[in-house]
């Protein structure tokens, strides 16, 4: 499968393998990291961003493509929608069928609320399903929540909101226990001890996993539980705008059937935005590891209704997306591959960095290797570096790859590459939205009453960079919390008269700022027709 040039380089990788075995490359100093990031991380590329011209974050930066969506009018600005004809009337409306939405729905249901989920594709067609590596929690004797806090806070460049991070780490063991009791099959030894590993930036081995189908296993169980509870799931239906009432409270959402185009009105006493990430916006033309529906809809809807964003200008590029072959370009190669021993190697067979630096540092370092240093390996789509996977079995014995990272083995075997015998090619891929809608420690947005946000659509939990395993954790912790909080709040709510006035108001702001993007938002799905895949 590899080209002759690649095979040449593989020989060099093989030549140095024995002497690299068991030698840990030096970690970078704080100063080295800072310089590297400034020079090579895509977040520092001015032309990848634009200034937001309207709304609560006016004057701040956003990735160019997100900025354009924020500068666009609503899809339903001129669509007559009769809000008096209520199709669904519930206590809790959950928007999004990923891990955060499902956790929220389960807890709201358990608390006795009348809850409904709407989701754009099917429940489980979501980034959660794709998470491979694992989920963090400080539940071993040598670890503690405050250690977890320090790792996440430092890894996020000291920008996380303390009240959010506190909840994340303090409720982590509880989240694992909850999942375990729902029937998630975590990797354990025969005595029941969780098998935990490092992730980039962790100081203790606290990454729990379900082989390399961690997210899939969690998602399958949550989905099954949602079904068992017979919580209504309205699938292939997108929320296109929030509805407010005359007191400015969140009061529901306008929904659209993705197949027939029909609009429906959902009235709800509380609304939980759990719409996930934005990888399909392809910032700076990067490929992405995200699912088809990751188009930042929740951010756009929330922002139009007046909810501020936080850290919308920080994006996580996962250092190891598949760089070759073309069919899997951008697909994630889980960090776990490095956790279990694979090293990053350049064209000359040199280990150019410690494999477990934080993701932003690792991504920037790979980009430097492939650009300034000219030590990348050429591919039809650009460049890549080697991830030396055969090391894993030299370290941990034959069969380790099949047992610990079967999804990865399968993905490359599909294209004739056996990672047990040959290294694989990787390059950074657009992976995660660090920022999102701002919430308080209670899960509610600070400006729109009864509106909650959970999961990847939240900004501030992780600061300006997220550690592996803290996102699966946050969707459970904050998803559960949102479900409980929404159920409780819904008991106290009286809704006023529903309206969509904010759409018109936003349109006027756009007009006044002279913005005419020629498109509407939210995006709902990317458009790949008649083009080459990304």
């Amino acid at each position: 499968m590899y080209t002759a040039e690649m095979l040449e380089s593989i020989k060099k990788v093989e030549a140095t393998r024995a002497q690299r075995l068991g030698v840990e490359p030096r970690r970078m100093t704080a100063e080295e990291k800072e310089e590297l990031l400034k020079k090579f991380h895509p977040d520092y590329r001015e032309d990848g961003f634009q200034e937001i011209k309207v709304g609560p974050n006016k004057g701040e930066k956003a990735p160019f493509e997100l900025g354009t969506l924020l500068h666009s009018n609503s899809r339903i600005l001129n669509v007559p929608i009769d809000l008096n004809k209520v199709d669904y009337d519930v206590d809790v409306l959950v928007i999004g069928g990923g891990g955060a939405g499902s956790s929220a729905a389960i807890e709201a249901h358990a608390a006795g609320a009348n809850v409904m989920m709407v989701t754009k594709l099917r429940i489980g067609d979501a980034n959660t399903m794709m998470a491979e590596g694992g989920i963090q929690a400080a539940d071993k004797e040598n670890d503690s929540p405050q250690r977890h806090y320090l790792d996440a806070f430092g890894g996020g460049h000291f920008a996380a909101r303390p009240e959010l991070l506190r909840r994340l780490v303090m409720e982590a063991p509880d989240a694992i226990q909850w999942l375990n009791d729902l029937g998630v099959m975590f990797d354990k030894d025969k005595d029941g001890r969780m098998i935990t590993t490092h992730g980039g930036g962790t100081s203790r081995k606290r990454m729990h996993a379900c082989k390399d189908y961690s997210g899939a296993e969690i998602m399958r169980v949550l989905r099954d539980e949602v079904w068992n509870r017979q919580i209504p799931v309205v699938d292939f239906t997108a929320a296109v705008e929030l509805i407010k009432d005359d007191r400015g409270q969140a009061a529901g959402a306008v929904l659209q059937n993705m197949e027939t185009g029909e609009y429906k009105v959902a009235r709800a006493k509380t609304v939980i935005i759990a719409t996930g990430g934005a990888g399909r916006l392809h910032y700076q033309n990067f490929p992405t590891s995200n699912h088809y529906g990751a188009t930042a809809d929740g951010l756009v809807m929330g922002y139009r209704a007046g909810a501020p964003l936080l850290y919308q200008d920080t994006i996580q590029y996962h250092p190891t997306g598949a760089a070759y072959p073309a069919q899997i370009f951008g697909a994630l190669v889980t960090e776990k591959v490095r956790s279990v021993g694979a090293m990053l190697i350049n064209v000359d067979g040199e280990a150019f960095m410690h494999p477990l630096e934080t993701r932003d540092v690792a991504a920037a370092s790979i980009i430097r290797e492939c650009t300034e240093r000219g030590k990348g390996i050429k591919t039809p789509m650009g460049y890549g570096v080697w991830l030396d996977t055969p090391l894993i079995e030299m370290l941990h014995g034959e069969g380790t790859i099949e047992k610990r990272i079967p999804a990865m083995l399968r993905m490359f075997l599909n294209y004739g590459i056996d990672m047990r015998k040959q290294p694989i090619l990787v390059y950074p891929t657009l992976h995660y939205q660090n920022g999102g809608l701002e919430i308080g420690g209670d899960g509610f947005t600070k400006v729109i009453p009864n509106l909650l946000v959970a999961g990847e659509a939240v900004g501030g939990i992780h600061g300006r960079n997220r550690l592996m395993g803290n996102s699966l954790l946050d969707i459970i912790v904050f998803g559960r919390n949102a479900g409980k909080a929404a159920a409780a709040r819904s008991k106290e709510i009286e809704l006023g008269v529903m309206n969509l006035d904010h759409l018109q108001k936003y349109a006027e702001e756009l007009e006044n700022a002279g913005l005419h993007t020629g498109s509407v938002s939210p995006m709902l799905l990317p458009n790949y027709t008649f083009s080459m895949p990304r």
Binding site: L121, R122, G124, A126, M129, M130, A137, D139, K140, S144, P145, Q146, Y149, L150, D151, G154, F158, P162, R166, M170, P173, I176, Q177, N180, G183, V184, M185, F186, G192, R193, R204, K205, K211, Y213, A216, R220, V221, W227, N228, F236, E259, S289, H291, Y292, P325, A326, Q327, I328, L332, A407, R410, M411, N414, Y415, N527, Y528, T529, F530, M532, P533
Partner: protein
């Protein structure tokens, strides 16, 4: 010149670059997907697909997002198949053999044709995991079905009308909840946190000034 392949979506011919996946080839040809596309990377099972190479007898099944086109492929997607999930309360059921009999009795009508296994794009031994479920060996069923992405291909091929991924899910949940050994350290830590053992420590670290946090972070000891 890019190498092209002729493929047939629902019987209609299109010429597409030969290195595309089936999913990408549909989009290249102008399809705007709503159904049949979820994760795009082989994890969600939305893109079950059935095809035949012209002139060959065998019907093949695959995931559209993980399979490269071939010349002469006649392709039909299978974005939905009516599987049947039964409802249960995880707190009420237990890992006894009866549970399968009660919830999924049709598994006992398996005729051993192995069509499920042949169709599985994850190369799982599907018939075997159904056999384990029949015997009440839930742990083995869970292990064998672990990589199932719920694409439903097996279900679409089964003459006995079995909903295999649902059976696998039940076995895995029973295993995770009831059969796998309990994690003492987890239980202890949850209790410690609930009893407030970390409240003060976490308050302390939350209040530290950034300079001190940087100091602590840059000098923290890292487990080998």
């Amino acid at each position: 010149m890019q190498e092209m392949a002729n493929v047939f979506f629902y019987g209609k011919k299109y010429s597409v670059p030969a290195d595309l996946t089936i999913m990408a080839a549909m989009e290249y040809s102008g399809y705007r997907l709503v159904r049949g596309c979820g994760c795009r990377h082989g994890f969600c099972g939305a893109c079950a697909t059935i095809y035949r190479i012209k002139g060959q007898n065998e019907l093949k099944t695959c995931l559209a997002c993980q399979t490269q086109v071939q010349d002469g492929m006649y392709i039909a997607t299978l974005p939905f198949f009516p599987a049947d999930k039964r409802n249960y309360d995880m707190e009420e059921i237990s890992p006894k053999q009866r549970v399968m009999m009660d919830l999924y009795p049709e598994i006992y009508s398996c005729i051993g044709c192995n069509a499920c296994t042949k169709g599985c794009p994850q190369s799982l031994n599907v018939m075997q995991y159904i056999a384990y479920a029949q015997r009440g060996d839930f742990e083995k069923c869970a292990e064998e079905s672990f990589d199932c992405i719920g694409c439903g291909i097996c279900t679409s091929r089964c003459p006995a009308g079995i909903s295999h991924p649902m059976v696998g899910t039940l076995a895995r949940r029973l295993t995770g909840k009831y059969i796998a050994p309990k994690s003492e350290h987890l239980k202890n830590r949850v209790e410690e946190i609930h009893s407030g053992a970390f409240d003060e420590l976490i308050e302390q670290i939350m209040e530290k000034p950034i300079t001190e946090m940087k100091e602590l972070y840059n000098n923290r000891d890292i487990e080998k």
